[in-house]
């Protein structure tokens, strides 16, 4: 018979991704308790980014999807970066008292 249109992800993959997400959650909470100055924000965003990537690739099946799906998802990220990047370059180059 025909193949299924949506790829069926194995259960172990789902459970592995879930375990990683929980570990990263605990990691981000403990990383916030240590004061590392500006490094805190970087670590926090990095961990959140990895978690989001895991959800997008595995739970949302982008890793198993077509290239077009990949482009659509990537486009969202790209335009978000443009939005944040250009807006922040504007505000952070203003002579504000910080």
């Amino acid at each position: 018979m025909t193949e299924r249109p949506g790829h069926i992800v194995p259960l172990t993959t789902y459970l592995g991704v879930f375990a990683s997400l929980m570990v990263l959650l605990i990691a981000t909470i403990f990383a916030a308790r240590v004061d590392l100055g500006w490094l805190n924000a970087v670590i926090m965003i990095a961990i959140a980014g990895v978690k989001a990537l895991l959800v997008v690739l595995f739970f949302m099946h982008v890793k198993y999807g077509s290239r077009t799906t990949w482009v659509f998802a990537g486009a969202g990220l790209l335009w978000l970066m443009i939005l944040m990047g250009l807006t922040l370059t504007d505000y952070f180059s203003r002579p504000w008292p910080m």
């Binding site: 992800v9 739970f59 099946h61 505000y91």
Partner: protein, 264 residues
């Protein structure tokens, strides 16, 4: 039937999918050029008639949903950018006010949402494998976890309303009890700004959660009746609902550290 534009008709499939195994509809009944598309392996009851095959239908549904999610990404992205700007402008005030948020409750909420994402992924898996009752079970678990998230959020909000942290004219900094100290600058407007962002960001996220929970509730009955475990395209709608649910989870994955954990 008239096929209207947009992904809803294609992936929802109620009107598009043939009910039962009626081979009569597999025969081309319109123009003769359709005979070229009639391959024996793509049975017409596996996909809505406006698509060539189930793959195309799944792809169309997926791209349509992703396009919607991209608009949502831009929406939350704009709100978060605004937060980042004010976080740097009112640095110290936001840091101090941020300590007022309950990290334990926020962390539990994040765990609850991650579990609900897992149960949603397993629901999609069940639909794809044609397991009707397992699908309903996982949908129910997702709904329960979503409601748990909303309850904890409601509890947090109730405390904040009680402590007059709503950014109304009655806003008061006197009651910062989780932070354990009174805010020491004379101007209450920066903390008020923090809470404005807190309520707008988490409030709109909660609105998305409510929509998600209602969506899952509306899928329970058709799922029980077997609409999503039938043929090759039955699981599409569950999968697209899953995409929405995972996206709402991702938004919270970013909101939690940004609002609750960035007080340094």
């Amino acid at each position: 039937m008239v096929s209207s534009p947009g992904f809803r008709v294609s992936s929802f499939g109620f009107s598009g999918m043939n009910r039962g195994c009626n081979m009569e509809s597999a025969l081309p009944h319109n123009s003769e050029h359709e005979t070229r598309n009639l391959k024996p392996e793509t049975l017409s009851h596996d996909h809505a008639h406006q698509f060539d095959d189930a793959f195309q239908q799944h792809e169309a549904a997926s791209l349509g949903m992703w396009m919607f999610l991209v608009t949502e990404i831009m929406f939350f992205g704009g709100a978060l950018t605004a937060y980042v700007v004010y976080r740097f402008y009112f640095g110290r005030a936001f840091i101090q006010t941020g300590k007022e948020l309950n990290v334990v409750l926020g962390g539990i909420n994040t765990g609850v949402l991650l579990c609900s994402s897992l149960s949603m992924a397993l629901a999609v898996n069940a639909a794809q494998l044609g397991r009707r009752k397992v699908l309903v079970g996982f949908l129910a678990i997702t709904i329960v976890l979503g409601c748990a998230f909303l309850s904890i959020k409601g509890y947090e909000y109730a405390h904040k309303v009680h402590d007059r942290h709503l950014p109304t004219p009655a806003f008061s900094v006197g009651h910062f009890h989780y932070a354990g100290f009174a805010y020491d600058a004379p101007d209450p407007n920066p903390p008020r700004m923090f809470f404005t962002f807190y309520f707008v960001l988490t409030g709109i996220h909660a609105l998305h959660m409510i929509v998600g929970v209602c969506l899952m509730l509306s899928l329970l009955r058709p799922a029980w009746r077997g609409k999503f475990t039938r043929g090759l395209s039955g699981a599409n709608f569950i999968e697209m609902a899953g995409l929405y649910w995972h996206f709402v989870d991702i938004v919270w994955i970013f909101l939690f550290p940004i609002l609750y954990l960035s007080h340094h």
